[in-house]
């Protein structure tokens, strides 16, 4: 076995008061693909960012060729041959493919750029990836998988010794994935050390030499890939006590309150239909990009769509958030910083924005607003140093609670909550779970969209699984389990699961 080229030893990391990594050991060896897997929030991204120099660990060591180093930034790591390919690409949209590949290390002839040589080299790099992207094309004009290829070509051009790939296949089709995996094989043969992450465990089993599993920021398993199968990996990823974290599910349901039939959004959602009953928590699971958020945005009128939506038997006016709100249907976005809260405004103005008409005759009743804020702070346990502070200065968990309070102030009967606990700590998670169960118990109906399977399983009475813009299955009772959901989400039939 060769010596590791890059390793971390005893690394812990905290964001503010929240510790996300606990004493992690991890290494990458030349000519080896080391897969890092775990659920969302397990600490994969943080680990990768520490390895690639984007983050400095709170404690612990980074070892390059066995010697401790401390990267001041990603440029320094890149100079050492460590390149990270991000899920969200780091490409300049308005520049050409060639300009991106050579960005920062342009080839010059005299004072001028040698475009011909850079184009030829770009083409050669892309050909190594079996990609026929034109080096002269603008990045904004090429498809998402092609951008992925450009990112990889850019990394190859920098003669990366260590390649860190954050879910590179999330945006690729099966065929493109196959080409990428072949490339990884080739890079491995050439002696590159590769860190690979993916939610698609079959890919991991196919490509990885070694697998490390993280769970809740802790290292739980490291083993040669041939000793593991996908089931073992999934077990290690999940393997947590689910009881206790989730409250009892309500049992009694009333009539259907929300019915969606034949809903389509061009290019994103095809023919989706489901029913939500009174007092029910309906979970939506699926891989990133399966179209769950897009479906919900279409339902509440934020996206143009075709199909029929009825609320308590009455058809809902399409394409109008205002109409949905009046009908008692509200949507709580997954993107609280960009779509949920006005970070530069104070808590009061954020709280009442959705339900402002309830505080307004001709003028806004600011006393009533202040009283509502006091109630919300008490009811949702929003911890703010000062009630006049801006929403942007709250911690993530408290922002989420403020967003919940804002949504509930509109007194909805149907609440769609997208990623209710993204990026928040376990204690706040539990508060939010209790709150969601309480809503259902009070006769409201709740849709929970989540990428965290334990959350969907722990909260929902029924689970809708989406794959590639379609509803792949609706699960009830004992069928609601991790394996069935994962199989459906990956586009495999659910039946086989029960047999195995």
């Amino acid at each position: 076995m060769t010596a590791p080229v890059l390793a971390i030893s005893g690394v812990s990391h905290s964001f503010g008061a929240v510790q996300v990594l606990f004493d992690i050991d991890f290494d990458l060896r030349p000519g080896e693909v080391h897969a890092l897997i775990g659920e969302n929030g397990a600490g994969k991204s943080t680990t990768m960012k520490i390895l690639a120099g984007y983050l400095r660990p709170t404690s612990g060591q980074i070892l390059l060729n066995g010697a401790p180093v401390s990267f001041t930034g990603s440029q320094q790591a890149e100079a050492a041959g460590i390149v990270m390919i991000h899920q969200e690409f780091n490409l300049a949209q308005q520049l050409t493919v060639e300009e991106n590949i050579f960005l920062g290390r342009e080839i010059k002839r005299g004072p001028f750029l040698d475009h011909r040589r850079m184009q030829a080299e770009s083409r050669a790099l892309l050909q190594r990836l079996n990609s026929n992207v034109d080096p002269r094309a603008r990045v904004s004009d090429i498809s998402v998988p092609n951008r992925q290829m450009v990112e990889i070509a850019k990394a190859l051009g920098r003669e990366a010794r260590v390649l860190i790939m954050d879910e590179p296949t999330a945006v690729l089709t099966a065929r493109e994935t196959e080409i990428l995996l072949e490339q990884i094989d080739r890079l491995r043969a050439a002696g590159t050390a590769i860190l690979y992450t993916s939610h698609k465990l079959d890919e991991v089993a196919r490509i990885a030499d070694r697998v490390t599993v993280l769970r809740d920021g802790r290292h739980v398993l490291e083993a040669p890939a041939r000793e593991l199968n996908t089931d073992r990996m999934a077990e290690a990823m999940v393997g947590r006590e689910l009881s206790g974290l989730f409250p009892e599910k309500p049992e009694v349901f009333g009539d259907p309150v929300l019915q969606v039939e034949g809903l389509s959004v061009p290019g994103l959602i095809q023919d989706a239909g489901f029913t939500l009953r009174r007092g029910e928590v309906l979970g939506f699971a699926g891989l990133v990009g399966a179209g769950r958020t897009e479906l919900m945005e279409a339902v509440v009128g934020l996206r143009p769509a075709s199909g029929r939506i009825t609320i308590e038997g009455k058809p809902l006016k399409p394409g109008s958030v205002m109409a949905a709100r009046s009908a008692g249907l509200v949507y709580l976005t997954e993107d609280r910083k960009e779509k949920g809260l006005l970070l530069g405004k104070n808590l009061r103005q954020n709280l009442t924005l959705l339900a402002l008409d309830r505080f307004t005759r001709i003028l806004i009743d600011r006393k009533a607003e202040a009283a509502a804020l006091d109630r919300a702070v008490a009811e949702f346990d929003i911890r703010a140093g000062d009630l006049n502070m801006n929403a942007g200065n709250l911690s993530g968990g408290n922002q989420q609670k403020l967003l919940l309070a804002k949504t509930m102030l509109a007194e909805p009967r149907i609440v769609i909550i997208d990623e209710p606990t993204r990026g928040i700590d376990i204690g706040t998670k539990q508060q939010i779970y209790t709150f969601i169960a309480g809503l259902a118990a009070a006769g409201k109906s709740v849709i929970v969209v989540s990428s965290e399977l334990p959350e969907v399983i722990g909260l929902s009475n029924r689970v809708v699984v989406m794959a590639a813009g379609r509803i792949a299955g609706i699960l009830e009772g004992d069928d609601i389990n991790e394996q069935t959901i994962v199989r459906l989400a990956m586009g495999m039939p659910g039946e086989e699961v029960k047999a195995s």
Partner: protein, 335 residues
């Protein structure tokens, strides 16, 4: 955790106060300077003159505050004012043969001004909100269109209001109650109503929300298109109102009417502390901004220390300074 939040809050307050007081301090400083340079500065005649002349820009700038707060801009207001004035004069002149010289003709003229302002603002708003063209581009276009239309209406010359009618209409600019001219009264009313509209109504709150983050506003069931159009309609109607106050002053309109009003109005809004990118606006700040701009001109005229031709230079410096101060506040807030 609570430690970091409390320090953030503590840092927050003095910064805001300085920012709030900045324009007011500048205004007080200018008044003190003016009084020191020339004893006539604080005389009744000079004060009412300065205020009355600020009224046109001031009325427009109040509307501009809403447009900018909601993340827009309107470059067309100066040309729009000239065009509305031209239309108004043409309409009144052509109504005299039918209705004779009298108050009804003037009332019709006022209606024409308000309706023209409404339509012009609505057009800007619809092109921006519904057709989704940048506000800068749309209003740059309409700025050229209105300026050329008024030149065409006047056939390159001047449109003059009928002489008899002018005598009847004159008091709207030159008279007032208790020695306060009508333009000043109207400006004050517009400013007070604007301040209440911005601070105390759902409309004002929605403007700030859209300017701060349009996505958040949309996700919060704010009718973004309607609010945005409404800001331009409000501004258009205030341009109509300003024109109503302006026409009796000279009784004419030409290609050079209202030139650069848009820039003065935008400058006043920015000096007053409204954020150019939108998301935060204050009407009283705009009023202070308008007064600062017109006091600079007035002081230069009275003092004869600096050439009045340098008026634009000093105004320009003040606008840039105001934005620099705004940015420093933002940097302090981000830290």
């Amino acid at each position: 955790m609570s430690d970091t939040t409390s320090t953030a809050a503590a840092r927050h307050f003095p910064a805001i106060n300085l920012h709030v007081l900045g324009p007011v301090l500048a205004l007080l400083l200018l008044i003190a300077l003016g009084a020191w340079l020339n004893p006539n500065f604080l005389s009744y005649g000079n004060v009412t003159n300065v205020l009355a002349r600020s009224a046109f820009i001031g009325i427009i700038a109040v509307g501009m505050t809403f447009v900018i707060t909601a993340g827009g801009i309107d470059l067309s207001v100066g040309s729009m004012a000239a065009f509305v004035a031209g239309l108004m004069i043409l309409a009144m002149n052509s109504l005299i043969p039918i209705m004779g010289v009298g108050i009804p003709v003037i009332l019709c003229g006022l209606a024409v001004a308000m309706i023209a302002g409404f339509i012009a603002g609505w057009l800007n708003g619809v092109l921006i909100a519904k057709v989704r063209i940048e506000a800068f581009i749309v209003t740059l276009g309409t700025m050229g269109i209105y300026r050329s239309l008024v030149t065409w209406l006047a056939d390159g010359g001047t449109l003059s209001l009928d002489f008899d009618l002018r005598a009847l209409y004159r008091p709207v600019y030159y008279d007032g109650i208790l020695g306060v001219g009508w333009p000043i009264i109207v400006f004050a009313l517009v400013a007070i109503l604007g301040e209440v509209l911005m601070r105390r109504t759902a409309f004002g709150r929605h403007c700030a929300a859209i300017g701060a983050n349009e996505q958040v506003a949309r996700y919060s069931a704010v009718n973004v298109d309607r609010v945005r159009i409404a800001t331009f309609v409000l501004l258009g109607m205030l341009v109509g109102l300003a024109t109503i106050m302006y026409v009796p002053r000279l009784g004419s309109a030409s290609a050079s009417t209202g030139v650069l009003w848009e820039l003065e109005a935008i400058a006043a809004v920015i000096i007053g502390g409204t954020v150019l990118k939108g998301g935060f606006g204050r009407v009283w700040g705009t009023v202070v901004g308008v007064l600062i701009l017109s006091l600079i001109g007035n002081i230069l005229n009275l003092a004869s220390m600096v050439s009045p031709y340098l008026n634009g230079t000093i105004q320009g410096v003040i606008v840039i300074l105001a934005v620099v101060l705004q940015r420093e506040r933002k940097a302090a807030g981000a830290r």
